[in-house]
């Protein structure tokens, strides 16, 4: 077998004559098959394949091993359609549970010309892969800019107190609606999954004043509670005292009645006796009473007729007297 010597540069190659006699046909053949083989592609479970034939969309295929005619006849894009993408407005996640505020994005004017610091997360996914691929440029930037514009528009419609407290949910919903309408206007094929307001707070330089309002509210409640406490202490005591007064009076009444009844009972039984022998009983009662009274009493008994002349008694008391003659 004869070899042909071929010199390329300063290298010398020995190539069998037979191979050369085949010409370039096998090279072309192998090349053709390799070219055909570039048409195999894989569509992941979270993707769809959008195949373009000569630039025009010819079909959209689901996940699996797929084939398209090789470039330049057909090309394929495999956008992730189930993946939910996330954009942060007003802050960036810089590490695990670490965030950095972006004040340029988060500081905004409210409807009553105050300023708030608002942070938001926007989640979105593709609802129309064709529109997403071919209708507009720079999808991430587009969503970001539209989100910022939406949030500021909506915050601009509401007052600061609403934005800081009760209106959060409403602002979230309105922002979502507006953002979706903007993205639909761009025919972007993007669906807003969720808009979440993270943190809406007063700007740093005035936050102390806002916190003081909260503590003032607490103070108000505390003052009222203390007063209520005082009331709860005083009123039952007063009621107790009132009940005591009434019970005492009732006791007095009962006692007064019973005493009267007792006195009457005694009187009645005495009267019964008295009626049996009037003068005797009277006398007896009188004497008994005197027996009771007189033993402890200093007494003077003066003779008849002199009962009215008290001057005679002055000595008897043993006291100083200027009346004696």
């Amino acid at each position: 077998m004869a070899n042909r010597r071929i010199i390329i540069g300063d290298k010398e190659y020995q190539i069998p004559e037979r191979l050369l006699s085949l010409g370039i046909t096998p090279v072309l053949g192998i090349g053709f098959f390799l070219w055909l083989a570039t048409g195999f592609y894989q569509v992941g479970p979270d993707e769809v394949g959008v195949v373009q034939r000569f630039g025009k969309v010819s079909r959209v295929v689901q996940s699996g091993l797929r084939y398209h005619f090789p470039y330049p006849v057909e090309t394929v894009n495999t956008p992730k359609v189930t993946e939910v993408k996330r954009i942060e407005i007003g802050f960036r996640t810089v590490g695990k549970n670490q965030f950095r505020t972006v004040e340029r994005e988060s500081i905004m004017l409210t409807g009553d010309e105050n300023i708030v610091d608002a942070e938001m997360i926007v989640q979105y996914k593709l609802k129309d892969p064709e529109a997403y691929l071919f209708n507009f440029v720079r999808p991430v930037l587009t969503v970001r800019e539209a989100s910022e514009a939406s949030l500021r528009t909506i915050i601009g419609r509401h007052g600061i107190d609403k934005a800081l407290t009760a209106g959060k949910l409403m602002i979230q919903e309105e922002t979502k609606t507006l953002l979706q309408s903007i993205l639909d206007k761009y025919d972007s094929g993007i669906q807003v999954v969720a808009v979440q307001l993270q943190d809406v707070s007063p700007p740093k330089s005035v936050i102390a004043a806002f916190k003081d309002v909260a503590s003032a509210k607490e103070d108000k409640n505390r003052l009222i509670n203390e007063a209520e406490g005082y009331r709860n202490d005083v009123i039952p005591k007063a009621r107790g005292e009132a009940q005591a007064m009434i019970r005492e009076a009732e006791g007095f009444k009962e006692a007064r009645m019973k005493r009267a009844e007792g006195d009457v009972a005694k009187f009645n039984s005495m009267l019964k006796e008295y009626k049996k022998g009037k003068s005797i009983t009277k006398k007896r009662l009188y004497l008994e009473a005197m027996e009771d009274i007189l033993p402890g009493v200093e007494k003077f008994i003066v003779p008849d007729g002199e009962g009215g002349n008290l001057l005679n008694l002055l000595n008897l008391t043993g006291k100083e007297s200027g009346g004696k003659k």
Partner: protein, 282 residues
């Protein structure tokens, strides 16, 4: 002879490939014949033209394009200065017109910037600051978009959306807003505290009042009860003693003596009194 054949094939394929071209989904093409536009293709797919150098294809983007306008200081109707940051979404709708008037995207953006900026400035100049910030922002944007659309249509451009991303106040105005916010909150805090004291005072005063009333009512009731007791007692006495008033007087007088006469009392008794008449008559 063989070499000539190869050369012909080569030439043929060059000519063939310059007649065939692909228009992508994102593209639109203007065909020029010796520099003169003859055809606009917006339909994606495989297309043919006469070979170079007779016809050439110029490709333009078919997609919605982006332009972020740098922030500008704009005066509102009430002469307040605002820093407005907006963006524009636009597309080439008439590539031929586009090619004839602005040729390429960088020139187009310069033109777009001029138009949008002046429209924005004009429109914002007819509104007060509070309107721009609050309710009317969207109406203003719609108006600016509309006006810009009209103004850019001679360039084969359609302005789809002009949108304000941010409206901020210059730094010094921001400071005065902060000062106002702080003052407002202080006022609120003071109000809450005063209200608290007011409420508390009210409650305490009401408490004192209620206490006084409760005790007074109790006094009233207890006096009534006492009175009733006295009345009943009187009635009982009167009924019983009425049976023999003389005897009652006698008994009651004796009882009274027992109570009022004690060891400090000095009694002077005449010897002819009932009790001592025996002594005197001796």
């Amino acid at each position: 002879m063989k070499k000539l054949g190869i050369a012909l094939i080569l030439l043929g394929s060059i000519i063939f490939f310059s007649t065939v071209f692909i228009v992508d989904m994102t593209e639109q093409v203007v065909i020029l014949q010796f520099g003169k536009p003859v055809k606009t293709i917006k339909e994606p797919g495989l297309h043919f033209k006469l070979p170079i150098p007779i016809q050439t294809a110029t490709v333009f983007d078919n997609r919605l394009l982006e332009y972020d306008v740098p922030p500008e200081e704009i005066l509102s109707k009430d002469k307040k200065s605002l820093i407005v940051d907006n963006y524009v979404r636009w597309k080439i709708v008439d590539p031929l017109l586009f090619l004839q008037t602005v040729q390429a995207i960088p020139t187009a953006i310069t033109r777009l910037d001029d138009i949008v900026y002046s429209e924005l400035r004009r429109e914002l100049g007819t509104h007060n600051m509070s309107d721009i910030i609050t309710e009317n922002r969207e109406i203003i944007m719609k108006q600016v978009t509309h006006n810009s659309k009209v103004a850019t249509s001679p360039y084969g451009i359609e302005v789809v959306d002009v949108r304000i991303k941010r409206v901020d106040l210059p730094k010094e105005n921001e400071k005065s807003i902060y000062a106002r916010m702080e003052a407002e909150r202080k006022r609120q805090a003071n109000k809450f505290r005063s209200e608290g004291e007011e409420e508390a005072q009210k409650i305490r005063a009401t408490t004192e009042k209620d206490k006084t009333i409760i005790l007074a009512n109790a006094y009233k009731e207890s006096q009534q009860i006492r009175g009733e007791g006295e009345a009943i007692a009187l009635e009982i006495y009167a009924k019983a003693f009425g049976a023999d008033p003389d005897f009652y007087e006698f008994v009651r007088t004796l009882e009274t003596y027992k109570k009022i006469i004690d060891e400090k009392t000095t009694l002077v008794l005449p010897s002819d009194s009932d009790l001592f008449k025996l002594i005197g008559n001796r």
